[in-house]
């Protein structure tokens, strides 16, 4: 059985509660054990880098250190958390001075991070570590006929520069195919949704949301699957605002990929938090 340390991140506590519950449900079904980190703290999202780089690394390093104690690889469902953990771990490994400075601070909480914990995004964990074949074998209700736009967003992929797949990854598509859905091809699958801009530069963010929805709908998407609470909220909550701002008529359900996996694995909708979304997915899912 696969086992991972699990860092839910702040958003999953409430705002993205359905992501949390559907993650736990699908993992259970697939025989993956997730062990939530004890007493984790917020990783600072992207905002902390605006204030103090070292502090941003330290906040994340605390969680990494807690994860390291479990001896397991750690998974994060939120792309921003993932990126922070992935790069904090990488930088601390490359730069012993940085590691020393941070570990000095961690001492206050009786912690130390030596850089050995591997960091995975939840999507990578399911799509690559568990793998499409394994998932396919457990599917009881394939999502036949549902055209889903896989939305990678930014920070699952970037800024990793060491592999050329950052510009055209395929594993989300493979995962959707494994649960019987039809992944659609659309150009903006890795384009930023502007999540972090909704406060500071609303019009830019709204137009980014609009472009994304437009591109997915033009290519025939019934819904968009996300792998990040920020993306989900942004694409969903601001559809109304986009429609007001640009005179469009979008009503695209935005679900977490774990919710779709859960459906295909035969988990009841309620347990997956389906119904909590603002743009209802029922019309699309009714066809199943």
């Amino acid at each position: 059985m696969k086992e991972f340390a699990y860092f839910p991140g702040c958003s999953l506590e409430k705002l993205a509660i359905s992501y949390h519950t559907s993650t736990l449900e699908t993992s259970k079904k697939l025989g993956v054990k997730l062990q939530e980190l004890e007493d984790w703290n917020c990783c600072g999202s992207t905002t902390y880098f605006h204030i103090d780089e070292l502090l941003a690394y330290t906040l994340t390093a605390r969680n990494l250190a807690i994860a390291e104690k479990t001896g397991l690889d750690v998974v994060a469902p939120c792309s921003a958390c993932f990126k922070n953990m992935f790069f904090t771990a990488a930088h601390m490994k490359e730069d012993p001075d940085l590691a020393e400075h941070i570990n000095f601070a961690l001492e206050e909480d009786g912690l130390n991070f030596s850089g050995n914990t591997k960091v995975r995004h939840l999507l990578e964990m399911f799509a690559q570590d568990v793998g499409p074949d394994e998932i396919r074998s457990k599917v009881t209700r394939p999502l036949e006929g549902v055209k889903v736009a896989p939305y990678y967003g930014c920070q699952i992929l970037r800024p990793r520069k060491d592999h050329e797949e950052v510009e055209n990854p395929r594993y989300f598509e493979d995962l959707l195919s494994a649960i019987g859905a039809t992944p659609i091809e659309y150009a903006l699958k890795m384009r930023c949704c502007g999540g972090s801009l909704i406060i500071s530069s609303r019009i830019a963010a709204l137009s980014m949301v609009r472009n994304l929805l437009q591109c997915a709908v033009d290519q025939g998407a019934d819904m968009i699957a996300t792998a990040c609470p920020m993306c989900q909220v942004n694409l969903e909550c601001y559809q109304q605002s986009v429609n007001q701002e640009f005179g469009t008529q979008f009503a695209v359900p935005i679900l977490y990929f774990t919710q779709l996996m859960g459906l295909a694995l035969g988990i009841p909708k309620k347990k997956l938090g389906i119904g909590k979304e603002l743009v209802s997915a029922s019309p699309v899912l009714a066809a199943l």
């Binding site: 070292l54 206050e108 909480d109 970037r158 800024p159 990793r160």
Partner: protein
């Protein structure tokens, strides 16, 4: 009007980067890949490439007066494509930090206030909590945006997706002492 080249600003900014060595923005060849890739470029006063040129030329006032780095969505699209391997996103962060420290930013910017509010919450509680963040920035919204936010919040509340009380981590004292080893707390405490 003419300007004189000075390189102090460029050096100041590079010293703000965790790894200025690995992020040699004076190596920029002004190819524009970053700005061509940036999903926010259309809304920025200057494109990311222009900001790099301005930093290198020492045009500090113009850079500080621009909205560019506050509008950066941290999407890293520029960074993974730059043919010179420059981490433009990290430069944007550095400019944000510089701007907050020097308390210099374009009038009407919401980014700085939001960042500070967000950061203070984490430092106080160890976690974030959306509702108490709202007041610190929402006043700068225009009326329509204000109502859009209220509407969103209400809907989310009804769906059980907004928390009522701020969550706290358990070892908060240790946590605060840990932070003190990294930076003097100043007004955030």
């Amino acid at each position: 009007m003419s300007e004189t080249y000075t390189f102090t600003f460029m050096k100041e900014v590079s010293s703000l980067l965790h790894a200025a060595d690995g992020n040699p923005f004076p190596m920029c060849v002004q190819c524009g890949t970053c700005s061509g890739s940036c999903p926010v470029a259309a809304y920025m006063d200057y494109t990311p490439r222009q900001i790099i040129a301005m930093v290198n030329a020492g045009l500090k006032d113009q850079v500080m007066e621009s909205n560019t780095f506050w509008y950066c969505a941290s999407c890293y699209q520029c960074t993974v494509r730059c043919p010179q391997d420059i981490s433009i996103t990290e430069l944007m962060y550095a400019l944000q930090r510089y701007s907050i420290w020097k308390n210099r930013y374009k009038e009407g910017m919401i980014g700085p206030a939001f960042s500070e509010a967000f950061a203070k919450t984490i430092v106080r509680t160890g976690r974030t909590f959306e509702p108490i963040l709202a007041p610190s920035y929402i006043f700068s919204f225009k009326m329509r945006e204000f109502f859009q936010e209220i509407q969103n919040a209400t809907e989310l509340m009804l769906k059980g997706r907004l928390p009522i009380l701020p969550p706290r981590i358990k070892r908060l004292d240790n946590f605060k002492r840990m932070i003190r080893r990294i930076l003097p707390m100043g007004g955030a405490e």
